[in-house]
Point group: C2
Chain length 475, copies 2
């Protein structure tokens, strides 16, 4: 990825720079570096940024140091627990942590202390990761913004709802942070903040103790590289599984090797007409580059099946929001009961909107979602991946809106894996290329994304090569 | 149901007697009775029983009185919120309540106070029901018993895991209480305590804020009559829906009219060889009575499809436990983290057993469950209901085991609706007749159960009659 030299980063702040973790492991092994030293550098960057960035809802320096010291001991003894042992991580503040407050961006939850860790947090800790803090979320992971700013331009939104996770990773404070996505809450902020983002197949990561209980919501990862995303997700799931009754994340512990796609689908989504000229041009340029490399690109204009998919996904944002609204009546009405008037007007309006959706209308929305999933599966029978923008352009100016989620919402309702790669630019700022795949084919999407990442940088990697621990992120 | 005159009820305690709520509504409407007076009588019975019964984990007298007073005002003004406005209820202590502790029977959760009500509790409150207390549960709703005793014989288990709900309803303290069932935790204790029990189609009642997050677990109701069960469930679901992404309870607000089945399946389950002679004889007598009334009874001995269902359900208890164990690794490992050594040996052993189940073995268990559901659906294409014992006999003597769940587990893994009717006897104590139906056909199961209830009492009701508010319970 380009090193950023944007003038809008104010004086006194370093240029935001992704900081992949996977390269550190070799140094931990050799003893040149330790998890404790790695953590201290993260804390230093936190100290530089946080006063302007507001990425964190809570920080736990002392417990992080204790965890990093324990990790340091394990690496010294040659017995690390996992490929992410010693990795400092952030946890979106809708996911319970036993040692830090979990407030969900809700006024009524100020100071709330869960008794136990959520499943994903337990998985992180059992893998040896070091939880540095809780990252800021929009109110109840919906649209009313947090105070978080974009590290690439403090006057712009970081996106939402995983605002703090994206800002902290984008600024280079952390190599990875957990997010959640029910509409576009992992992919969009990752795109805006110049980070990698991973929204898994729905059900792939156990949501126990996470407050995103809506039916197609998932826990995802925002990180500094593709290996950081994969290893974080895989190490969690190998310890705590997927959602109850679902197949957890499928794949090998190692990141899939780069894999050249034969056929990709360009999905426009409702976001295409809303995208900036530059964003569209960047997408077209990339697609043409793929075609020159011999990749067949299926487009709605010449492919009835793709056109049908676009059609069934038309209006997906409003429909996804309706599903989410209905499925959020509880707990929001329960919150109103203990703290009347504590919800923002935005959230109160969404709760009121939910009451306009009848039980029959809700079932129709679920039927639509099932039908869209069938259509997508049919398209994917003859394609290796879907590529599309992760957002309509660079992060918009201002902090009152978290931006438009239209390009990111399809993977949510379809329950498919999706990645965003920070390889596009708009207005001198980061923009993500989204790569989607078939359900449960998360590992394959990573393989395709590794190839696309190199292709976007003008290289074509040898495909099928073994996993390279440091590949995919810093290049 | 017979009035009980069992000598084992110790002196000083009244004979346990079910106390249906639905008859009270007419008196509330006429002004002869009020919800506050109704509550005070429940509190009086609580005072008589609780010292010996230990059915409650927490009681909230003052807040219940305030809620009952508000309900009294609504009835006076002719504006009750629902058919259960003013009904005192108990809530199993694995379901969060904002105004009472929720401890899950876990030592590590002593004094835990949730911030907000669970969805089902919110639904109850919005319908005007009066939460009198939290009912005792086995540890984490599994097998390590609570201190609760059986109101029909204090030396016997009330069953589990919804021990307190069944004991409180069976003793006549409350007309209804919420339970949960992932193995046999609604049907078995209801059977042992002489109460009606309802285990809905999986997903029918929103489990938000309930800690039974396992994939086929459901919230159910233990009550004093069929109308009490139906109205409680229906009023909750009409306000808070089913589990996210699932169809909530399907049916009219009114209880279905009695409906004579043409064909019933007698499912033996693994419980049949374990059942007492008297329990089997009572079942056979009932089946013969049905046959004399012109109902066709399909049995494994002469029906290959039923035999196939019995076969696929063989070993269901161990398989269901394995699924539940895996799906309970979180939060149990998270509990161990904050309170090492706080789990009972029983629960620690189940957690250890979960670690022996590989991800592949877990997927095979889910495949088995799917396959069993298909087999059941095929059987139900040519049957109106399944009848079987709800337990292997009367509640066993002793408080160290909560009894055998083999007869109750099929409805859990099949995700089907099931009722238990207190119409059988064993050793002079209550025993339930279980009635199961096809998924989402909960209302029809109630209709069949109403007919069976009358048939078991030697009557044959006119079928297809309109719902009678006081029917089904006290007769």
């Amino acid at each position: 990825m380009d090193r950023l030299t944007d003038e809008r980063v104010p004086e006194g702040l370093p240029a935001p720079e992704l900081l992949p973790f996977q390269g550190a492991v070799a140094d931990f092994r050799s003893g040149r570096d330790t998890p404790r030293d790695y953590l201290e550098r993260a804390i230093d960057r936190l100290a530089v940024w946080e006063g302007r960035l507001h990425a964190f809802a809570a920080v736990g320096i002392e417990q992080a140091r204790r965890a990093a010291d324990a990790s340091t001991e394990r690496w010294r003894a040659g017995r690390p627990r996992s490929s992410i042992d010693g990795m400092p991580v952030g946890v979106k503040d809708v996911i319970d942590t036993a040692d830090l407050p979990t407030e969900l961006g809700l006024r009524a939850y100020a100071g709330r202390r869960p008794l136990v860790d959520a499943a994903a947090v337990l998985g992180l800790r059992e893998a040896g990761a070091v939880v540095l803090g809780k990252t800021a979320t929009t109110e109840f992971a919906m649209t009313h913004p947090a105070a978080t700013r974009n590290p690439h331009d403090l006057e712009r939104t970081p996106g939402g709802s995983s605002s703090g996770s994206a800002a902290a990773v984008g600024a280079g404070i952390l190599p990875a942070a957990l997010g959640t996505q029910a509409v576009g809450s992992v992919l969009r902020p990752a795109s805006y903040c110049g980070a990698f983002g991973y929204k898994p197949t729905s059900g792939a990561i156990n949501r126990g103790g996470s407050h995103d209980t809506q039916s197609h919501s998932v826990i995802g990862v925002i990180g500094a590289s593709l290996p950081d995303l994969w290893h974080t997700a895989w190490e969690i799931v190998s310890r705590v599984g997927g959602d109850p009754g679902k197949r957890g994340l499928v794949g090998a512990p190692q990141l899939a090797p780069p894999s050249r796609p034969s056929v990709v689908v360009h999905l426009e989504t409702d976001g295409w007409p809303l995208a900036t000229d530059e964003a569209r041009q960047q997408t077209e340029d990339l697609l043409h580059r793929l075609e020159r490399a011999g990749v067949r690109v299926r487009r709605r204009q010449h492919d009835a099946e793709v056109a049908q998919l676009e059609e069934i996904l038309a209006g997906a944002l409003a429909k996804a929001r309706s599903i989410i609204n209905v499925e959020s009546r509880w707990p929001l009405r329960a919150v109103q009961r203990i703290a009347p008037g504590s919800l923002s007007d935005t959230l109160a309006a969404r709760l009121a909107a939910a009451d306009q959706v009848s039980a029959e209308a809700y079932q129709e929305l679920l039927d639509w979602r099932r039908s869209a999933r069938r259509t997508f599966a049919a398209v994917m029978d003859r394609a290796d991946a879907v590529v599309t923008l992760a957002a309509t352009g660079a992060a918009p100016i201002g902090l009152t809106s978290t931006g438009n989620a239209s390009p990111a919402v399809p993977s949510s309702v379809l329950g498919t894996p999706a990645l965003t790669l920070p390889v596009l630019r708009d207005a001198g700022l980061p923009l993500g290329l989204q790569v989607m795949g078939a359900r449960h084919r998360d590992a394959a999407v990573f393989g395709t994304a590794r190839w696309l990442l190199a292709a976007a940088a003008g290289e074509e990697p040898a495909t099928g090569s073994g996993p390279a621990p440091s590949a995919g992120g810093a290049n």
